[in-house]
Symmetry: C2
Subunit: 369 residues, 2 copies
């Protein structure tokens, strides 16, 4: 591999001049420029080595996006896709690349500089990172904070690390979740299941008590659950009739499986509120498989209002996913540029009612209103 120095030598110019040729910077005469370019081609010079340039410049032109769950999993959720699209758009415009940093849950949380616990995060070549919706007990944020990287945390209100420079982007989904529960209560539902992928890093499945639900490691989940509960109480209904169930994973299959269990329960619910559209879709399909009509026998509410929801007519809580990504990216770029950054940005969320919710089948519960 030819180097800049070799090219410069062969072209009879200094490395400084050669560098200028390849960077468009500085004034170089056309004659010299042509000669350098030609020599480079002859030598098969591939252009400045990015790692070297980055070292020298002190910045690499790449931001990282930390995703829970591993890439395959994360990309399976259209919500993550929309978020990333927002990040990518802003990044593209600023000519900044994107590195995806998946952090599978449950990796041993080793600490100390010698332990190679999260090697990807510890050594990722990025100028800063956006940490997207990871669980609060994840070592990801502390690892990044230890690197003193400019950081934007999305959907994680609490900062366990106490790092003051970490900007936050949140969605006010607690209120929107409350709207969803209110909607169901108003329709006349009196026994409702709240479906989460899981409450802790451990993949469990089945009903969980509220005492446990309140301890969910993901703040997003906690907030949404709190929203449902708020509204339920406000409607004067007993929390015991708002069951929390873990599906074990955030996937259509997990939702489908859970639907079977839920529907065959002794006291079946008449509606389910899910923390993602993917789960909601699974519930819908599971219910239909068992011969139940949606919303006739089971009302289903999703979360995220991903493209999926509109496609299948799912009532869902809409959060501005793309905008969330854009906001996070803009905040990070601002921090990188040394500009002041909003420490905390809150985005709104709203309930979008579609065809998957309706009054419960008669006799099951009180009438609407």
């Amino acid at each position: 591999m030819a180097t800049l120095r070799e090219v410069a030598a062969a072209a009879g110019v200094s490395t400084a001049t050669a560098s200028n040729v390849f960077n468009g910077t500085g004034r170089v005469s056309d004659a010299v420029r042509a000669r350098v370019v030609e020599t480079a081609a002859a030598l098969g010079y591939a252009g400045p080595n990015p790692a070297a340039a980055s070292l020298r410049r002190g910045r690499v032109g790449i931001i990282g996006v930390v995703l829970a769950e591993g890439l395959g999993y994360a990309l399976g959720d259209p919500a993550a896709g929309a978020f990333l699209a927002g990040v990518a758009e802003v990044g593209d415009a600023a000519d900044v690349g994107l590195t995806l940093l998946p952090v599978p849950p449950g990796r041993p949380d080793r600490t100390g500089p010698t332990a190679r616990g999260l090697p990807t995060l510890e050594r990722a070549i990025v100028d800063g990172a956006i940490v997207y919706s990871i669980e609060e007990d994840s070592p990801a944020l502390p690892t990044l904070v230890a690197r003193r990287l400019p950081l934007v945390a999305v959907d994680s209100p609490r900062d366990a690390t106490e790092a003051p420079w970490v900007a936050r982007v949140l969605v006010r989904d607690r209120d929107a979740a409350a709207d969803a529960a209110t909607h169901l209560a108003a329709l006349g539902h009196r026994r409702v299941a709240v479906v989460v992928d899981r409450l802790t890093s451990a993949a469990r499945t089945g009903r969980a008590p509220w005492s446990q639900a309140r301890q969910a490691t993901s703040s997003v989940i906690r907030e949404r659950l709190a929203g449902y509960a708020d509204a339920w109480r406000r409607a004067g209904l007993p929390l015991s009739a708002l069951e929390v169930h873990e599906a074990g994973a955030n996937s259509v299959e997990a939702g489908q499986q859970l639907a079977r269990d839920l529907v065959t329960a002794r006291a079946p619910v008449t509606a389910v509120a899910c923390v993602s559209d993917v789960l909601a879709l699974g519930m819908t399909q599971g219910a239909r498989e068992l011969g139940l009509g949606v919303p006739r026998d089971l009302s289903v509410v999703g979360f995220d209002d991903s493209p999926l929801a509109a496609q299948v007519g799912l009532t869902s809580v809409a959060q501005p996913l793309r905008e969330k990504g854009e906001t996070a990216a803009r905040a990070l770029l601002a921090a990188l540029a040394g500009q002041p950054v909003e420490a905390r940005t809150e985005l709104p969320a709203t309930l979008v009612v579609r065809g998957s919710t309706g009054p419960p089948a008669q006799g099951e519960a009180a009438r609407p209103r």
Copy 2:
């Protein structure tokens, strides 16, 4: 920012020893290790600078994945997600990170070292790259080839760059596309639309002549079209009754829009074969919107057999998406390790028949068989 040298000095050791502490490499006494670690913490040392380490090591531990269309667009297609999941899995296992390099189509194709045509690609900090299903007139592959990077091209059989070291991963989808057309012909369909997102970089919409279809810039599209045509001819049917239509984009909406146009045509088709599941889903929804039954009034075949297809019962051509990603990643890692690499790997594809295809409504065409 503290540096390794400063830490070493403060701890009273050489930089070599300090480096060993942070790399787990070499033998360092526990006493010294503890002292270094402690000093690092006191000084707020963030760990070795990745850019510097990469420069020194000569490798960065990251592979790039080049995606056409911009990230948002690419992630909207579940097929791309599945592919990426395969890449990520193999990458993860090898402790190699992933950088996404979106290449929006239609960017001016400038060349030469001074023109800053595709800055992201020209300066991406990667050890090698996987180029996924991009159009053949895209400057992306030449740009990367110019950097002499180890490369794996997925779904692009022709190598315009003549770079011998570019490995290829292909799916035999021509034959599978033929199976799809044969399936439709056998069901009795005599007038079928083939729906592509687009034939050239320019987003056009509407019917295109076969003369133009054969020139599609994407080899994947060309192959699939050729497959449909092969089978159609083999069934003894006239190519004029196999209409090629451009939807303008690879999205549900585009498919939906096209469905409206197709169905209201003078001589409506009784079946459509789409080059993606996303388009097929759009066609299905568009048809239903207009009161048409699927498959009663319109049979729909998708492509990719993405998770989507199974969810909505779409007949689709299954290609091993995840395996494709794994294969590509493995090939690249092998090349990076200096091992010999299969210059060309072909993966199979097969037709999966589900509920979206059936015989045409009576009177519309000949009987099945």
